[in-house]
Amino acid sequence: MELLAHQVLAGFATGGIYACLALAIVMIYQAIDHLNFAQGEMAMFSTFIAWQLMQWGIPYWVALFVTIAVSFVAGVAIERVLFRPIHDAPALSHVVVFIALFAILNSLAGAIWDYNVKSFPTPFGSRSLLGDGLMSAHDAGMIGVTLFMLVMLYLFFRHTRVGLAMRAAAANPESARLAGVRVGWMNALGWGMAAAIGAVAGVMIAPVVFLDPNMMNSILLYGFAGAVVGGLTSPGGAVVGGFAVGVIENLAGTFIPYVGRELKLTIALFIIVAVLTVKPSGLFGRTVVSRV
């Protein structure tokens, strides 16, 4: 029983990572109705930018804010430059462009900063809370940051005009245009915000998993899984989903035999798929009832 509690808590700590990324994923999904497969790479690239700024002597918090700003602009630019020309193209073609973006960012990062693993500082210190190193100060800080972003996003979407315009543009682009909403720019804004959130996620994650161009690969998958389990229409659900995935992954690794580090990912994903077969729209997603 005590082992179970331990592992749940440890899973919670890693779950913070996935929750953070899941939030960025759902954010952009709400804005543009597509899953951004390059989200992890964008976050990774942003983290490298932050790292580089700090290598040049810029203090942590300044570097962080500059990175967030740069990421925001880059996100907007990617939407306007890369995706605007193909907005009429079929959905599957969009997915290929996402894949292309993934390849470009991964390759560029490797070429600029090489593939050696680098350490990344944390502003929270690495003191261990809760006794036997299950949760460190950084883990707690990461969870706190994620929850803070979630609250900010909620306030933005529910209580600002721009937030409502973005929701309208995503929900019904044609009607939104007829109301005078500049849907293209709302999409770009969504991308910018997702990029900024991704930057924060990357900066929070890097101290734990160390910085290298491939750091986001499996995390992205867990992040997707978390977003999907929580229900892609719900930022709160994404966060819960992220934590859930962290716990599931840890429990699977501890209690199911033959499961090494790699098979953990598989088991976790399959359990998530099992959840989806029972609840196809995720735990908190809204089931769309289609009337015949």
Binding site: L164, A168, A171, N172, E174, S175, R177, L178, A179, V181
Partner: protein, 239 residues
């Protein structure tokens, strides 16, 4: 007619991909007037409205207050003061009734004016006020139609394009809706281009009418002239 028209189309052609669906329409909506566009299913009435709103590829001229609309983006045409109430209502189903109205006013900046207009919309549509915090998707068909009209009103439009507002609604609700449309035209000075299959209702509200068949204009004139025309009565009014 020497008065300048609010909206005029000259030789309007429209295309879905390579297929041409409108063949040189000449329509007009007078300032403060109600023009109705009649025709059977598939005649091209909806396409005409979509062409004006910039939603389909066009050739020919569309002039709003003398300014050409050709090639402009949908949202820019809307911001010129043309509000389109689309077929199927275009409701934002996951947003509340009040949010739907706020979205309608998104291109405006005057907070006080918007709040006042929301209250005025509730004045015209008291049922919407009752449901202001409800998710719009849970409203009945008639209520969603009223919401669509109210949302269009929030734009403070000079011209409203209405696509089959009576579609799928019970007769009593339709009467109510059309009475409100008449009031809006008279009191709020909103000109209207009304597409309808329900010809008798449309001809009662409108002052001018155009009849199209397979993308071509076949008749036009004052509404009451068309109402008493033999052919129209037999074909579209059923008596």
């Amino acid at each position: 007619m020497t008065a300048a028209m609010l909206l005029e189309t000259v030789g309007l052609c429209a295309f879905y991909g390579a297929t041409q669906v409108l063949f040189g329409l000449d329509l007009a909506v007078a300032e403060g007037g109600v023009t109705t566009l009649l025709g059977a299913n598939g005649a091209g009435k909806t396409t005409t409205l979509r062409a004006i709103s910039g939603m389909v590829r066009v050739a020919g001229d569309i002039r709003f207050r003398g300014q050409s609309l050709a090639g402009q983006a949908i949202e820019d045409i809307a911001r010129l003061g043309i509000a389109h109430v689309p077929q199927g209502r275009g409701t934002f189903v996951r947003q509340t009734v009040e949010e739907n109205l706020e979205i309608g006013a998104m291109s405006r900046r005057d907070r006080a004016g918007i709040s006042a207009d929301i209250e005025r919309a509730y004045g015209y549509f008291p049922r919407l006020k009752e449901r202001r915090k409800q998710q719009a998707g849970t409203l009945s068909g008639g209520e969603q139609q009223m919401l669509a009209v109210a949302r269009a009103l929030m734009l403070r439009p000079q011209l409203m394009l209405l696509d089959e507002p009576s579609f799928g609604l019970a007769p009593l609700i339709v009467q109510e809706l059309f009475a409100i449309l008449r009031t809006l035209n008279r009191d709020e000075k909103v000109s209207m281009l009304l597409v309808e299959q329900n010809a008798s209702l449309a001809l009662e509200l409108a002052d001018r009418a155009f009849l199209i068949e397979t993308g071509q204009l076949v008749m036009s004139g004052a509404a009451h002239d068309l109402r008493s025309d033999e052919n129209i009565r037999r074909a579209y009014l059923g008596y």
